[in-house]
Amino acid sequence: MEITLSHYLLLAGAVFTTGMVGFVIRRNAIVMLMCVELMLSSTNIVFAAFSRFHGNADGHVFVLMNFAVAAAEAAIGLAILVEIFRRRRTVNVDDFKTLME
């Protein structure tokens, strides 16, 4: 079986949906952060796939850029969570309402 563009897209869609559903229904902030990473990864797959099938490198550039963004985001996000955990002893997002201020 030849692997076509559609396979990649389907895979990416599946990963994205997993991430999205997880992000919406879970309450643990660390899990939500991981779900965000999943969604980012799914876009990476799409970029890479299109890059391969169109035969130019633009998509790869974006993938690399995405890695950087994801890494930064994860680092900052985790740092914030660690700080919140230190103060609140919880990572349950339903307990955080201070964003309202």
């Binding site: 999205m20 992000f23 919406v24 309450r27 902030a29 939500m32 997002v93 339903d94 955080f96 309402k97 201070t98 964003l99 309202m100 201020e101």
Partner: protein, 660 residues
Amino acid sequence: MESHSTEILLRWIVLIPLLGAAVNGLLNRKLPRQVAGLLACTTVGISFALSIVVFLRLLGMEAEHRFLTDTVATWIGYGNLSVDLGFAIDPLNAVMALVVTGIGFLIHVYSLGYMAHDQGFQRFFAYLNLFIFSMMTLVLGENLLMLFVGWEGVGLCSYLLISFWFNDEANAAAGKKAFIVNRIGDFGFLIGMFLIGATLLPHLQGGEGLFSFQTLQHHTDLLAPVATVICLLLFVGATGKSAQIPLYIWLPDAMAGPTPVSALIHAATMVTAGVYMIARMNFLFVMSDTAMLVVAIVGAATAIFASSIALVQNDIKKVLAYSTVSQLGYMMLACGVGAFGVGIFHVMTHAFFKALLFLGSGSVIHAMSDEQDMRVMGGLKNKLPITYWTFLIGTLAIAGVFPAAGFFSKDEILWKAWSSGHHILWGVGFLAAGMTAFYMMRLVAMTFYGQNRASAEVKSHIHESPATMTIPLIVLAGLALVGGWIGWPHFLGGGAWFEAWLEPVFSGGHAAHGAVVHSAGEAHVAHDVAMEWTLAGASLAWGILGLGVGWFIYTKKLATADSFKKFAGGFPHRVLLNKYYVDEGYEAAFIRPGFRLSKTVLWKVIDAGVIDGLLVNGAALVVAVVGSVLRIFQNGMVRFYAWSFTIGVTVFILYLSFSG
């Protein structure tokens, strides 16, 4: 070479007093009193001496060419607007220059004695010198704008000197009032200048001074269509500076200043600036019969109005102040009937006798330990002999008794009013002349005759003033006595030299109106001499009658004066004593409503209420309301945000896929 050196003197006449003012002003208390006083007197003395030199130079020139000019620099040069910092002298302002520096010098000397014990001695002389500088700028300025510089400058000095003893809030208020009322007049002056400028500017060649009197005189034909408006506007300025109705109200209050100031600024020199300005602009005024008539009527009205107030005042300086207002009215009347030269003649004689009277009153006040109320004076004749005799000469002069100075000038004014056909104005002036004689004699009687009514404490201090004060009195008395002789009229066998001297200035332009007046005078010369004799005799008799009645009532029959006070329930007396309630009227009509409008309506309602309250805070309120609605969605629940985000994106994608 000779001529050049004379011209350059003009700037020094003006600038040397400024030097004195600067030194006295900057060093102030660091300067010993003697040095400060000497410096101030010397600078004015030099100015006077230089004025004489220039005057003699003019005298040596042909009558038609008596004109010297000294341009220092360009002041404002922009496009074809060009105004010089320059001075010029002709017979008209030569007279003014001599009067200002001459009387100024005498009053400086007098002040040495009068202000000897004052704390602000140096400051006083700095202001006084600054005044001479400003006044000479006004007089010698080569163009209308330079005149305006001096005009505002003397206003400032007047302010500074009226509120000189600023410890008393009333003095400060009087100074401020003088400045502001003068500014109202200046407003008219300024607009008048704009109209002149706007009319001439398109027609000028490059480099021609826009406001130069020479230029104006040269272009009277261009100004003719707007002459009436210009003249009336300039006259508004003159009513402010020369204290005419309706802007005279500042002058009586201005007596709050030291007496030498009242004599110099508020009697002899500054207040005549309006008359000088009108005489200077005579070539414009003669083009407008309307403006001339307005000037004449306002002058006559002011003359009688002010002298009626002077009849009942009890403050010695207030009487003299209203007398000054009234005499300025005479000068205006003269200008208004086309007799500018006579107006200036009266400026000069008035400067002599009114400066004398004020300085005399200052000597009295000095002797009476700063008392100004005549009701507690009396009997000073023997204690202050020099003051008394000089004061009496001044009184005779102002009452128009032959051969004192006032006789010639006042009589000439009334004669010109009559001979130009303004019989009603003559009547008004004639009436006022009698009142003048009466109130002056009342003043003399209350001050110098009878018993002294002061307290024992004050009485023990009464003394004749020092020589620095009496010498100027004597000199001025001499001038008040004989100073009018240079205008000895033809019908009395004189040469009317003064008029002849000014002749070139007032017949130079396109003096249509003036020429008519003049030729009318020539034509009926035979008929007129008889009339002139009659009127002169009448007014002399009338003046003596006024003096006599005043003397009789206030030395023999004081009951008569009291019965007048009670006449008609005391109402006329009260009205006069309160100066017709004009100040109160202005207060109620303009000042209080103005303040109320500004404070309650403009500031509190418009500024704070409408603009800030309604518009600015209103806009802020809208933002706040919108914000509080949107706030409902910002509940801080991360999962709520996640859900709304997801749903939003889904709906958006669905919309895109189905709409395309």
